[in-house]
């Protein structure tokens, strides 16, 4: 899955250049410009480090929180094959979370700290997961649209200047493309199914379309940090470029499915060779981001209660490991 707002820098990430730092920064930027990878032990500007920690941990959190809306349908998947594929997909997302937490750890933050930030509500995750999965078709729509948007965003990150993040993303992208195909396949089965199934598919598209295209983040005129992230080659394309690319690819797919994208302004523009689309309701995006989406509370509550309910298990594992160490010492 994916996190939006990948270019958001925190207030603490003030770019300070003085004395020696200037030379180090010049060398750093030289490497970036030459398309060399920055590795964990290399010098890097603090703002670059903080931006990556924020971005990678948001991305990891999104994978973990993203397990919840889809996990909601595992027990009700309509066939055993669909059930197995969905479990595998949700499990992949947990795996992605794990690689990403590891990639973030190379920057000097512990997974435990990142988890605390998530549970405290101070870390962001992709707001798309604050929407509910109300029918089986939502599982198709998530794979098709949400994973489709994720791929669009993530493929450029495979060439990100930070080595561990870029490498994690190569593996993640391969799995995401399988996720996207399974989502489309679910939609196709519904679109070719009974009138009730077709209605279910259309309803899911109606609810997921706008949140999906919001996943690319604010429009370029509103996105303050795109320029810096592009200079650092953390970001390769602007939000609007990626959004346009997604819509250009997805609109014909909807047509193939016989479904109507819920945007009366959506139309092919011969002059630009792109689809035109209607106004995005950014107030909705901002509201969900601020915690007022349909499921923000439920998602965080689910993560918190898993963490709390698992505390005694983690304590037991630590206590057992300690006993084992003590026994080994006595035996030695």
């Amino acid at each position: 899955m994916y996190t939006q707002g990948l270019d958001s820098l925190g207030k603490e990430c003030v770019h300070t250049a003085a004395g020696d730092t200037a030379a180090l920064e010049a060398r750093f930027q030289g490497k970036v410009d030459a398309d060399e990878k920055i590795e964990p032990k290399d010098w890097m500007p603090d703002a670059y480090r903080q931006t990556l920690i924020r971005q990678i941990s948001q991305h990891a959190h999104s994978e973990i929180v993203g397990m919840l809306p889809e996990g909601n349908w595992i027990s009700r998947a309509p066939t055993l094959r669909r059930k197995a594929v969905l479990i595998a997909k949700v499990q992949d997302e947990g795996g992605h979370g794990m690689y990403l937490y590891s990639a973030a750890e190379t920057l000097g933050i512990e997974r435990e700290q990142m988890l605390e930030q998530l549970l405290a509500g101070t870390a962001k995750y992709s707001s798309i997961f604050n929407y509910p999965t109300l029918t089986w078709a939502d599982i198709g729509a998530i794979g098709w649209l949400v994973d489709g948007a994720a791929i669009m965003n993530q493929i450029p990150i495979c060439r990100c200047s930070y080595g561990p993040y870029a490498r994690a993303m190569v593996r993640i992208c391969k799995e995401e493309s399988f996720h996207q195909r399974q989502g489309f396949e679910i939609m196709l089965a519904l679109a070719r199914g009974t009138p009730e199934q077709q209605a279910m598919a259309q309803d899911a598209l109606n609810r997921w379309w706008w949140p999906s295209i919001m996943m690319f983040g604010p429009s370029d005129t509103e996105s303050r940090h795109t320029a810096q992230s592009m200079r650092w080659k953390i970001k390769r394309f602007t939000n609007d470029e990626l959004r346009q690319k997604f819509i250009d690819i997805t609109a014909p797919q909807a047509q193939f499915l016989g479904l109507q994208i819920p945007d009366p302004d959506l139309a092919w523009d011969e002059s630009t060779q792109h689809f035109k689309f209607g106004q995005i309701d950014w107030s909705e995006f901002q509201a969900v981001l601020k915690g007022h989406g349909p499921c923000n509370r439920e998602r965080l509550e689910a993560r918190r209660s898993a963490h709390e309910n698992g505390r005694w298990v983690r304590e037991a594992a630590a206590a057992h490991a300690e006993k084992q160490r003590a026994r080994a010492q006595r035996a030695a």
Binding site: Q91, A306, N309
Partner: protein, 262 residues
């Protein structure tokens, strides 16, 4: 009248061979369904991935076993018709598999008891005169060895962990032990299959299971509960109240939209 003799088996008359496959397949299916309830809610990310793995393997086993059972039955029912369109009395899983997850410790106890049982059953099926079943078992036993490593490893950690974890798993063990009698209570289906060289005799498997469990319990510093005489009869279609709820949820779409393709 015992619970078993009151059991009803609606639908087509099934051969002992078919019923045996349903017992194995339904046990894997119901247990896999239960484990999947953990996905996204486990004590740590690693355990989330581990439990999802187990669930996935079990559902894979169920698909192979139910498809085969459907063919033997000869009524045109495939894996999905069997999984989604039978009611509780036609499910033949071991009663232990349908018991609720409870906390992580209870899930681990249930898992370890059933993994150890599946290990013996699948090992015994390696020599089955039914080559198709033998090949399903050969694949399944590799998965089950990993499952048992996972569940027994956790049972030891929890049993020999903190006071709280020890108390929790001992209570779960005491609570679930009564369902283990059924695992080795042979009836006419088991006897017929053993006589035909299709399935191992349950009486032979019991001591090996028992020794394996004792070894884990000892390392986990847990006390083996006293034998409980009452036998449960999930494998004859007489279940606890829990199964109906598992099925109501699992079968929801197939029941609501009859005949739809997904």
């Amino acid at each position: 009248m015992s619970a078993a003799s009151r059991s009803i088996t609606p639908g087509p008359v099934q051969s002992a061979h078919c019923r045996y496959l349903l017992r194995l397949g339904d046990t894997s299916l119901v247990l896999g369904q239960r484990l999947a309830e953990w996905v996204g809610h486990s004590p740590a990310l690693e355990e989330d991935l581990g439990l999802a793995n187990l669930s996935l393997d079990l559902i894979g086993q169920a698909r192979l076993l139910l498809s085969y059972a459907g063919e033997l039955e000869g009524q045109g029912r495939d894996e999905d018709a069997l999984a989604f369109l039978r009611d509780a009395p036609a499910f033949l899983n071991m009663t232990l598999a349908e018991q609720p997850n409870g906390d992580f410790g209870r899930t681990i106890v249930r898992q370890c008891l059933l993994d150890a049982w599946q290990l013996e059953v699948y090992a015994g099926l390696a020599d089955s005169s039914d080559r198709r079943l033998a090949s399903i078992a050969a694949k399944a036993i590799k998965e089950t060895r990993y499952h048992f490593r996972f569940s027994s490893g956790w049972l030891v950690r929890l049993g020999d962990g903190t006071e709280e974890s020890h108390r929790r798993v001992q209570e779960a063990l005491n609570e679930l032990w009564r369902f283990t009698t059924e695992l080795f209570a042979a009836d006419e289906v088991d006897d017929a299959l053993a006589a035909a060289g299709v399935a191992p005799g349950l009486a032979e498997l019991q001591p090996r299971w028992s020794a394996r469990i004792d070894e884990v319990l000892q390392e986990a510093t847990l006390v083996r509960p006293a034998p409980v005489p009452y036998q449960w009869h999930g494998k004859r279609g007489v279940h606890t109240e829990y199964l109906g709820h598992v099925l109501a949820e699992m079968q929801h779409l197939q029941r609501t939209y009859p005949g739809a393709q997904w």
